[in-house]
Symmetry: C3
Subunit: 124 residues, 3 copies
């Protein structure tokens, strides 16, 4: 394992699956602690988790912190977070509809080329 290792998390499940929201972020944070380059690409219904006002108000389970806090922990660990452009197209959204924690909007080709270059591609 060298500093250049890359992993990609493709996150596909959204708000309707409350018990699937935290794990990809936790795993991404852990990977980032190993000095791995970690990118998360939110697509399908998961993309809507990053719309302004969603993660701030989403508590995955009673007694836990809101999803935005888990997102911020991942960012602090060095994880990059992307939204896949079809999410915008399907839901009539613009870049400015997403939270500041989103590093960029990317197309499917980004996902493919990054995966081809990555050591692991997780699809959650």
């Amino acid at each position: 394992m060298t500093e250049q290792d890359k992993v990609i998390f493709v996150v596909t499940h959204g708000e309707e699956h409350k018990n699937r929201l935290e794990s990809p972020l936790h795993l991404a944070s852990l990977a980032a602690m190993l000095d791995v380059d970690v990118k998360m690409v939110y697509t399908m219904s998961a993309g809507l988790l990053l719309k302004k006002g969603v993660a701030e108000n989403l508590i995955p389970k009673e007694g836990r912190k809101s999803l935005i806090e888990t997102i911020r922990e991942a960012k602090e660990a060095g994880v990059k977070i992307y939204v896949c452009s079809p999410v915008l197209e399907w839901n009539d959204l613009k870049r400015e509809d997403f939270i500041d924690e989103v590093d960029d909007i990317v197309g499917g080709m980004f996902l493919i080329t990054e995966s081809l270059d990555a050591k692991v591609t997780y699809t959650f």
Copy 2:
């Protein structure tokens, strides 16, 4: 990246998840444009998407084209499409119940050996 790079898409979600149907096909088409060898293996409820009469009549979202058109675009880009044999067994289906766009019916061992040889295995 050489012409010999392989990627596998294992598709597991079917008709009940309308917003998950197009993305794997689009991503597969994009990968094929990079001269990557691209195979899609449809399994679990996703296998039923390739039954005659299903994709032809399935519009993933109002105003969009039917799924069969997205499947055909992937085929034209060079993507190979397979159905995993338990889909036939679980649903009492035969080879001829599937659309012509299906290249072959394959067993689980095909999926494993192809993955071991692939640069990326996506499971959507």
Copy 3:
């Protein structure tokens, strides 16, 4: 392919998805037959499948055997089975609440480091 090849199956869907329960186990058994080192990590709702009393009483489809038998076949083929620790935390469970077929309780870092070292990481 050498004897040292590793594959990891991350299993994330539980009892509520009856048609997703057998395939990962079958594929893991097949991979183990190729002398690949095979580890399955059950997480999210899938972790609860391995609680005592669940797989023993779970028939994925009428006329089929119970899930515990498919789990035992995988174990006999040499597959190692792990539960991810957040499953215990989220559901107030202890090690002894899980069936004997579980080799160990592991943290997220285990999943990450094993994946970085694996040839394929499947996430079902």
